[in-house]
Amino acid sequence: MTPQEAAVMVCAAIAVYAAIRVALEPDTLRKLPFLNVLSFAITGVIALVLPHPLGIVAAAAYFVGSTLESNAIASTYAGGLDRRE
């Protein structure tokens, strides 16, 4: 097993662990950090599973998109800006 394959295996294990933690978490806001962990692990899998120059671009696009998504869910759930004053 090469070190790159070991890194892919570690990233996949972290992704499954984060998904299980998200599934078992009762509080909605506490789900979102584990969703971020899952996004980082999937980004690692995408970058390592195929050695191609465009794979880095795909990993960066997924990283930006998933971070934007979880931050949008968090800010909308928390109520957004307070515009009442």
């Binding site: 097993m1 892919v8 295996m9 996949a12 992704a15 998904a19 899952l38 795909a58 949008a72």
Partner: protein, 83 residues
């Protein structure tokens, strides 16, 4: 070398399949729309390595940029509104 590579690819395939199954079951079972969106994020994260594994990197870039946009449009609908 070849045997190890096949085993690693199978483990990544099983892990991402488990992610898709977990995300789909959670999306069906949850009742709050925000929790449904979080579970949908898990499912899309499980789909992405399958697209990359076939070499469809342009499709992967497009999906990675379009999926959060669809989540944003869904969030506009199910926002909390006036407290």
């Amino acid at each position: 070398m070849q045997e190890g590579s096949i085993a690693v690819n199978e483990m990544v395939t099983v892990s991402c399949g488990a992610l898709i199954v977990i995300g789909t079951i959670l999306t069906i079972k949850e009742s709050d729309p925000f929790r449904k969106l979080i579970s949908l994020g898990i499912m899309i994260g499980g789909v992405m390595p399958f697209i990359v594994d076939r070499g469809l990197l342009d499709v992967a870039i497009a999906v990675a940029l379009i999926a959060p946009l669809s989540t944003l449009f869904t969030l506009m609908i199910c926002g909390r509104g006036e407290p």
